[in-house]
């Protein structure tokens, strides 16, 4: 697997690269800002890049260059998986995360994680999930979103507690089997919950089992987006 890393923090970047390398992931380029990476790209050979691990805040203005860069990379490699790895700032992150999730273009996988909530193993598994086109969001988001959703919609009973738990894990990019293992459910039980969730959240032509809509393939991603949108974290 070919990965590029962009991060301006000289302490963090080597640790990150070492963590990836020891997991058998090839880091083909590591730079401290986006311009540098874009200039390096032509020299990286003809094979496509699978994953870009980007810091949210990069030079020159340290605002949201990471997302801008991701958008630019997606324009060049439609299938590229992007992981935005940012330092944790409670107030502004949700905004940037929704930006990243909803406006990146292309159709590769996508992850939004926090540096100080990531270990080697969780990072590697996130990278593998994103590489297969899935969406990975730090559990903090879905927990926060769920908590807020419950506060705001205490009267409405769209979802049972169990369904919310399934949704949380879905948002984190887990497969049906992983969800089943985590919640000690059978796989068919998870599928039942998911079917109900899809029906609740998605239009009939996408959610129905008999649907031939191409978007059906992306049901999981669309569900996560819709869930985040309903909980007010995606505009």
């Amino acid at each position: 697997m070919r990965v590029v890393v962009v991060d301006d923090n000289d302490v963090w970047r080597p640790s990150l690269v070492a963590a990836l390398a020891s997991g058998g992931i090839t880091v083909v380029a590591e730079t401290s800002d986006g311009m540098e990476l874009l200039m390096l790209l032509p020299s990286l050979g003809p094979e496509p890049i699978d994953i870009a691990v980007l810091d949210l805040r990069l030079p020159p203005t340290w605002s949201d260059e990471g997302i801008q860069l991701a958008r630019e990379l997606r324009r060049r490699y439609q299938e590229l998986g992007v992981i935005i790895l940012s330092g944790y700032e409670r107030d502004v992150q949700l905004h940037h995360a929704t930006q990243a999730l909803s406006h990146l273009g292309g159709h590769g996988g996508m992850g939004y994680l926090f540096k100080d909530r990531t270990s080697r193993s969780s990072l590697r598994s996130a990278i593998h999930r994103v590489a297969t086109g899935r969406l990975v969001v730090d559990p903090l988001f879905s927990q926060q979103a769920t908590a807020e959703y419950r506060d705001q919609h205490s009267a409405t009973k769209d979802f049972s507690d169990r369904e919310v738990e399934v949704l949380d894990l879905l948002v984190q990019g887990l497969t049906n089997k992983e969800i089943a293992d985590t919640l000690y459910l059978s796989i068919p039980a998870v599928e039942r919950h998911l079917t109900k969730i899809f029906r609740q959240l998605l239009p009939a032509e996408i959610s129905g089992e008999s649907s031939v809509d191409t978007r059906r393939e992306n049901r999981r991603v669309l569900t996560v987006l819709e869930w985040l949108r309903r909980t007010g974290h995606l505009t």
Partner: protein, 617 residues
Amino acid sequence: MGEDRSPVVKNGIGDHSLNAISPGLPAPDEADGPWDGDPPHAAGRVCPSRLPLLLAAISGGITMLLQWPVLASEPVFTRMNACVTVGMVVLGSYLIIQKRERFTGLAFVTAGLCWPVVALDIYPGWGPYLAFLFGGGATYFVPVIWGILRYGRPRLAYRSERLYLPLCALLTTGASLALSLFIRPEWVGLPARARWPTLIASPLAATAGGVLACLGFQVLAWYLFALVRRTMREAPPTRKDAIRPLCVFGVVFGFGSSAVYTIAILAPSVLPVHTVAIVTGAFALTLACGLGASIIRQDLITARVIDRLPYSRTPENVARYLKDVLKDESAELLYLDPDSSGLIDADGRLRYVDEELHTNRFHTWIRGSDGARISLLMAHPLLRNDAATLASLAGIISILTENARLQAVLRMRLEQLNATRIAQQHSFEQARQRFHRDLHDGVQQTIAAARMDLGAFADATTPQDYQRAITQLDAKLRLALEEVHSLKEGAQPPELRSGLRPAVERVAAELRLPARCRVTEADLGVLTVPVYYLIRESLTNVHKHARARIVDIEVATDGRMIHVAIRDDGIGGAAARVYGGIGGMRHRVEELGGRFQISSPAGAGTTMKASLPCVLS
């Protein structure tokens, strides 16, 4: 004639202001007014205001005696002559005594005393000839004598005014003198046996000369009209109302008398000699009345100086009073700050002497009782022509300044304190943000990296792997400790530790902007941080939007102000587009008591300028 009021008001103010008058203004003549020396009605002295009446009685008596033979047969003619004489003499002597307008007054007195000559045609010999000469020109002798006496004085500032006077003398006296050489007295309705210096009695020459003389009178009348119009246009706002009656009656006099002479010369049979004298006399009286009205109006306007004096002398009241008295909405008084020798306006804002004096407005320094400058009066440029009002105001403004200046200075100090407070608030806020950023970019990421390294133990297979992992972890933890220590230090952002200039250059380099920096080495105190952030935000804008090839960064200070200017040669149009946070930048600069300007014409680059008053650290 306002004698009860005007001497007190006029002289009172005049004397009062003598000690404080500014050097640029002509001081009034040595006063002998009622407040200076003896009380006005001291025994054995004629009160100044009675002298005009005395003179009037004497001149009126002489005129009546002179016309004794026809006193009963021609009542209108004789009374009109007496009125003109008395009116002119009273006005002239009043001008001399009360207004110290010596030359104008003398001109009116002379004209008044000469007027009875028009009645000399009742006597045989040279009488009718003198009457002809004076009757034609006596009304114009007023401006002629006045003009010749005052010739070259500053009041006749323009060449056209100086030209008008000899032209008057030439066309009036010259024309009647020349005309008299070609006519017989009986042609103009005078006794045939009168002595007359006729050279050639030619009706043709007489008609030609008459037409020429009439043209001359028309020229004079229109010339006078043009002069009066210009005078009105250029009159200072304080005088405009006062000189209006004089100007109106002056024009009436000019056109009226020229019309009468034209008729009298071209058709002598229509207007008998005495009728001409009566009508011109009436016009001369209107001129005198116009002047009198102007004098009274001026006195009333001057009286406002005292009448409207504010009871509570706050800077606002003083400002309103000056606008009112000077009839000039642009008039303002700027107080000199005794400490910084800067100027302070009524709102307590700082102004700059250089900037104020560069404007086209009139200005004069007001001096205090000790002779030192205490304030600067700024007003309409034409006000410089009204030295009298300024002289009378100088003393009053001096007193008002002494009262209001303290308040203005206090206000300025308050504004400055406020600005200092906000500057500190800003630097606290920025320190807080910086702390968060340092925490986030520094120690937090270092610990996160250490955590990431921790995973190396799980991957390790050989003792060397373990050793390397431990070394790495140890280095990261030590770095984290150092970062925690440095967080505890310094309120200033670390990039400013080596000064503003290197910090600004670093920002420009990081943004990849080719920059020319001219940054002062002076210590800007507590404002260094806001100035740095202002420049950084501005450069970020340039980087994001301007597409500039080069940026000029300038920071200068004169000890009272800090001037920041950022110019780029980019695409401009910042006002039209959404240009990141310009409103916020303006707000922050104005909060600090400064001014913020941005000019960004499309295609011609953007210039951001900010000036901040220095505050005490």
